[in-house]
């Protein structure tokens, strides 16, 4: 029964006998030893995949070239926040020129590009180089893989938006703006960052999981995020010029960006980016929240379904 049967000493045998013996199925013990230490298990694998994916989205642990774009974009979203604070401090303003949630919305093009670069790197490359079977041959389940990747993307995007918000908050406190107002605004801003990250990461992760090609994933994510936004904004503009003001709020449901804009202006005390700074009515607000939750759940379910199939 034991696999480590030692081979017969062949050097002494004559030529004909040696070939006959060599033909038999013998497993040679060449000294490899099995692993007998502790096995860290499923939750450890999940955490490791999460932290590695999160680092990867900022280019940490990858080549110097792949650090350039994420860090440049990160600087590009943080520096205007610092400038805003500096202007508020120098002009001795009573409040910041731009609200916290509003600032995140202003940075949307940069966030979209960051997400479009990060999501395919985290997800499509595993499909392209066929590393997913290696993950799934471990104690890790498919749902663990999806959860780890989705959480990593959401966390990356949350960091990307929350750091400028915190810069603005700390700066506002140093500039001796009203503590209560600023704290309330910053908390609302952070909630908004979380909502923004959860929704956009779900959309981007699903699109990235559909294609093994990185370039295609990048283009598809950018298109999916920006085209509806520009389209809905143009339609809202048309609705406003043709005095069809009731339609503006309902049109906003049509793209992730305007959906979040509506939510922040209704529930998180921000200024609306809609034409005429229109805020939502009560019924519209409820529908917005339901649609937001439904979209997140829907894209997560689609993502899980994508990985249910064998032989991706």
């Amino acid at each position: 029964m034991s696999p480590d049967q030692t081979p017969a000493p062949q050097a002494t045998a004559s030529g004909g006998a040696a070939t006959a013996e060599r033909g038999q199925n013998v497993i040679h013990n060449i000294g490899y030893r099995g692993y007998e230490g502790p096995r860290l298990g499923r939750s450890y694998a999940r955490r490791a995949l999460f932290s590695q994916s999160l680092r990867g989205t900022y280019g940490l642990g990858r080549s110097a070239k792949s650090k350039v774009l994420p860090l440049l974009l990160f600087a590009a979203v943080c520096i205007p926040a610092a400038i805003l604070v500096a202007v508020a401090a120098l002009t001795k303003a009573k409040e910041l020129q731009v609200g916290y949630a509003e600032y995140v919305l202003l940075m949307q093009p940069l966030l979209g590009i960051y997400l479009a670069a990060a999501a395919p790197q985290a997800i499509s490359m595993d499909l392209r180089f066929k590393t997913t079977p290696l993950y799934f041959s471990r104690p890790m389940e498919r749902s663990d893989y999806v959860a780890a990747k989705y959480a990593a993307l959401s966390a990356a995007l949350f960091l990307f938006t929350a750091v400028p918000v915190l810069i603005m908050y700390i700066g506002a406190l140093l500039a001796k703006l009203d503590f209560g107002d600023q704290t309330e605004g910053a908390v609302q801003g952070l909630v908004f960052c979380a909502l923004f990250a959860l929704l956009h990461a779900a959309i981007a992760a699903w699109i990235a999981a559909l294609t093994p090609r990185r370039g295609f994933g990048v283009a598809a994510i950018i298109v999916a995020i920006t085209v509806p936004y520009f389209l809905v904004s143009a339609l809202q503009g048309i609705a406003w010029t043709s005095d069809n003001n009731g339609a503006i709020g309902w049109l906003g449901l049509g793209s992730p960006g305007t959906l979040l804009d509506g939510v922040q202006s209704r529930f998180l005390g921000g200024r609306s980016g809609f034409p005429d700074e229109q805020t939502l009515t009560g019924a519209q607000g409820a529908v917005y929240l339901v649609v937001l939750a439904a979209l997140i759940v829907c894209f997560c379910t689609l993502l899980l379904r994508r990985y249910r199939k064998a032989g991706l």
Partner: protein, 240 residues
């Protein structure tokens, strides 16, 4: 300068599989929206300008330009199969020119034609608005194709860089810094549209027509030449 075999291969790479889908979705979206707006609002010149200028020329044309321009050469360089093409007795410049024509043709078919149709749907080409925007879209698609084809030969991250240019430079910086508008393909194309359209049409560009024509020619010609030079000294890099 035009090589039919290279053209056929490029067509198949561009319109094969799911790439064609994404290229069809965007114009279809424009046409559906145009029909819906016409049904709700009736014909209105200001609305037509708003939709064609704000959505079609600002978003649709650059995006399709990025997809077609980088898609014409990027994937081939990415997976290394371009060496089989380069080892054939076909001039590098003629490869680039052929790919440029195919990319520009694709962009024109998927961007300029839908713009023309959408213009007719929206207001029946009153004050030549539909034709003006279609001309602008055609010219812009040629310039974008040359620009993004060049990017495809220069960098492996051509899609991302192209999108940064299309979204950040043209949309964001172009609207904040007036000087940046002079260096925007969209504004050059709008200058031609302004010339074509009637005086009552609400189309305005921040660039004069002669400047626009010269800059368009420089970008298209220069981009093609430089891309040909770049293809001559191409080195294939490994994965990251």
């Amino acid at each position: 300068m035009y090589n039919p075999t290279v053209a056929r291969l490029t067509w198949r790479a561009l319109l094969g599989r799911r790439r064609a889908l994404i290229l069809c979705v965007l114009p279809a979206l424009l046409l559906v929206v145009a029909a819906a707006v016409r049904a709700m609002n009736g014909a209105d010149d200001a609305v037509t300008s708003q939709l064609l200028g704000g959505f079609a020329l600002a978003t649709l044309v650059p995006l399709i330009g990025v997809i077609a321009g980088t898609g014409a050469i990027g994937p081939e360089i990415d997976d290394g199969s371009v060496v089989y093409l380069l080892s054939k007795p076909v001039g590098r410049t003629s490869i680039i020119v052929t790919k440029l024509l195919v990319a520009a043709g694709t962009t024109a078919v998927f961007a300029a034609v839908p713009v023309l149709v959408a213009g007719f749907v929206l207001n029946g080409n009153s004050q030549q608005i539909a034709v003006a925007y279609a001309v602008a879209a055609t010219v812009a698609s040629l310039a974008y194709s040359a620009l993004f084809l060049l990017l495809g030969t220069v960098s492996r991250h051509a899609v991302v860089i192209g999108l940064v240019y299309a979204l950040i430079w043209e949309a964001l910086i172009g609207s904040l810094v007036p000087g940046a508008k002079t260096l925007s393909v969209q504004q050059w194309a709008l200058a031609l549209a302004e010339k074509v359209a009637g005086s009552g049409a609400d189309i305005s560009s921040s660039v004069a027509v002669p400047t626009a024509v010269v800059l368009l020619a420089v970008v298209t010609g220069g981009g093609t030449l430089f891309a040909g030079q770049k293809l001559r000294t191409l080195t294939l890099a490994g994965e990251e």
